[in-house]
Subunit: 129 residues, 2 copies
Amino acid sequence: METEKIVARLKQEGLRMTKPREKILDVLQSTSVPLSAEDIQRDIDSIDLVTVYRNVETFLHLGVVHRIILEGGKQVFQIESHSHHHHHIICRECHKAECLDFCAASKIEKQAKALGFTQLTHVFEVYGL
Amino acid sequence: METEKIVARLKQEGLRMTKPREKILDVLQSTSVPLSAEDIQRDIDSIDLVTVYRNVETFLHLGVVHRIILEGGKQVFQIESHSHHHHHIICRECHKAECLDFCAASKIEKQAKALGFTQLTHVFEVYGL
DNA sequence: TTGTTAATGCAAGCATCTTTCAAAAGAAGA
DNA sequence: TCTTCTTTTGAAAGATGCTTGCATTAACAA
């Protein structure tokens, strides 16, 4: 997603484009590998980890980035480049992720609804080497 | 899974059935809700959390329990009652889980292999209320 | 330029899980 | 039963990943 559009999304919510936010976006925009908060911090000269956490969270709510939960529960972030719902195949070693073009959600969610569940979300990630 | 069979699985690996292991199994066998290590500890009179963590890990490797990763990365455990591979729909509030009888893994893994990945595993959980 | 509010950095805190190690308990044989 | 060997345990400390509180700073609209 382009910075211009992101500024607009921020403004829409009464939020501001700041130096730290610009730097975080720079980092995320210049890689295809999903990054953890720490990865992002490491790539920026001087930024607090808290600031990174708060901003990826903000970007997540704005739909600017998406989050992938790794085996073990650690979270990594990637710029939202595709608008359609999709999942990933993730390398356990380097954490590089590729998009998969398939999601069985509709089938599953039908079954889940039959069981009486509402407000469904799902996690589906494939891991390999 | 019945305790008898579990003792056999332990012995197979040169491991022992102990009081703490018995108690952990009791707790897991007497509920349908997946439990966290802390949940299990709370239900037992006097057991160290470390012991719980170590033993659910052991049981996991033996195939006696399976692990569910909640949104947020926390892990919970449930006695393995079905032998076939399956996934869950999990309540975000009470963590009660029901089994789903569907898994798209084979389709997805074909695609993942085409991308050059090996040693595939996957996480697929559906959450709701 | 000024005032308002959002955003930052720092410190501390918290939840979950792991490692280390000495002591205790289980299993097997004498 | 006693001995010996190995597994298992519990206690303490540590690691990791993320969050909260709060005083200060920076956006940005008027």
